[in-house]
């Protein structure tokens, strides 16, 4: 089976299950379908999302909230609570490996995470206080914005940082890692620390408000703005996420917006799918998967926007 056909099949299955979920959800508010069908469908969708998330280079949380929020009968409050846990569990699971390899830098993550965690609490409270149609509209706009970012965002594998700024120097925001691809040891440092900190304040608000994870924003901020090597940016983004999502998740837990029946199948499905996705990295063509994920996100973002505006309730 060709990579393109595999990608199309996974994408079609994802859309089919999501569409079936929506059809089932539309029937008497989901009450016509036996209760066990929902966690099962959720597990299936999350499993597929987990498979495509790794080769597409995005976090499963970014796919989870727009797709499940648009096509399942759960209220967006519970979807965001589960979305945060999906992103959190994935980030926590990857954390130890990233730290040991040096691809994730605790030193770089901590200052950014403190600010982003604090603002994520505000974002979570704001998200739970806002009318759901407003959150849906903002979510749709954000997802469409992510699609644009995926299209236009450039990446720099080893950005040139000639001189670290004063704050970066004072905090010794630098490190070393062995690049597995080339086998060479890479020393890195960062600059533009203050703009980076300000940006992470905003990223924290979005992560808490939408429960969407924020790898899509963390990686460009660390790589293109602060000058961290791409692999360090991706690894450190995971560490930042694990701390930011912890804070925001607590708000949802304390507000009662985490239902195990929604959260657990999502977390388990996504993690199992991600393991398969990581193994299929060589088989699946990243660019094909990425295009398919963009198409799915476009559809889910438009759906969220139309749901929020009442055009497609």
């Amino acid at each position: 089976m060709t990579a393109r056909r595999t990608a199309v099949l996974v994408g079609a299955a994802l859309m089919l299950v999501a569409a079936s979920a929506q059809a089932g959800g539309a029937a008497a508010g989901g009450a016509a379908v036996p209760w066990w069908a929902w966690p099962l469908a959720l597990f299936g969708v999350c499993f597929l999302m987990g498979i495509v998330a790794v080769p597409a280079g995005i976090g499963g949380g970014t796919l989870f909230v727009p797709i499940v929020g648009s096509f399942f009968p759960f209220h967006l409050d519970f979807v965001r609570g589960a979305g945060l846990l999906v992103a959190l569990a994935s980030a926590l699971s990857a954390g130890p490996t990233l730290l040991r390899s040096g691809l994730g830098s605790l030193r770089l993550a901590l200052p950014l995470a403190v600010l982003a965690s604090a603002s994520s609490i505000g974002g979570a409270m704001l998200g739970l206080a806002m009318p759901v149609n407003v959150v849906q509209m903002l979510l749709g706009s954000l997802v469409l914005g992510i699609v644009v970012l995926m299209f236009v965002s450039k990446k720099s594998e080893f950005p040139q940082v000639d001189q670290p700024d004063a704050l970066s120097q004072a905090l010794a925001l630098n490190g070393i890692f062995v690049d597995g691809a080339s086998g060479r040891t890479v020393a890195w440092q960062v600059h533009r620390t203050v703009p980076g900190l300000i940006l992470f304040l905003g990223i924290g608000v979005l992560a808490g408000m939408f429960g969407i994870g924020a790898g899509w924003a963390n990686v460009p901020a660390l790589n293109l703005l602060m000058g961290a090597p791409l692999k360090v940016a991706a690894g450190t983004s995971g560490l930042v996420l694990s701390l930011v999502d912890s804070s925001a998740a607590w708000v949802y837990i304390n507000e009662g917006a985490v239902l195990p029946m929604i959260a657990v199948p999502s977390v388990v499905g996504m993690m199992m799918g991600a393991r398969i996705g990581a193994r299929l990295l060589d088989v699946l063509k990243g660019s094909v998967i990425r295009r398919m994920v963009i198409a799915v996100l476009l559809f889910a973002g438009a759906r969220a926007l139309l749901k929020g505006t009442g055009v497609w309730p």
Binding site: R107, G235, L243, A248, L259, V268
Partner: protein, 140 residues
């Protein structure tokens, strides 16, 4: 992404954090899966019957809490024997394990005279504890 096995190049606090995070995540996931299995298989009576969920989860969280008389904040601890509420235990471990990891770094940083990072660890713990305290719950 390729994980390069180069532990010797990483600072000790990073390796300690990695070890504790590993344990915390595994513990959280095991508790999460076991408690959910007990809940889904009907081994523990739930606070909200599973058959009622499809009519309830479409409501905003405030309405859901009202209809089910479910607790907010740490009130869930009193109902931990209920199948659905027990599922929160694993979630709480996952959301809280970073606190233990961060606190374990403070002595390492202080011993090295790195007060800035010791303070950053304490600040991050304070933020997570504030969020976890439940003090912010129900204030929207």
């Amino acid at each position: 992404m390729t994980a390069a096995p180069a532990p010797k190049t990483q600072p000790p606090e990073q390796l300690r954090y990695a070890r504790l995070l590993d344990w915390g995540t595994w513990l959280g996931l095991v508790v999460l899966v076991l408690s959910f299995a007990a809940y889904a298989l009907g081994l523990a009576d739930p606070h909200v019957p599973v058959s009622r969920l499809p009519e309830l989860w479409q409501h905003p969280v405030g309405r859901y809490l009202e209809l089910t008389q479910s607790p907010t904040g740490w009130g869930w601890l009193a109902l931990i024997h209920r199948g659905d509420i027990a599922g929160l235990a694993g979630i709480v471990i996952l959301a809280g394990c970073s606190v233990v990891c961060l606190l374990a770094l403070v002595p390492l940083y202080l011993r090295r005279g790195d007060k800035a990072f010791a303070m950053l660890c304490v600040a991050e713990v304070a933020v997570v504890v504030l969020a976890a305290s439940g003090w912010l719950a129900g204030r929207h």
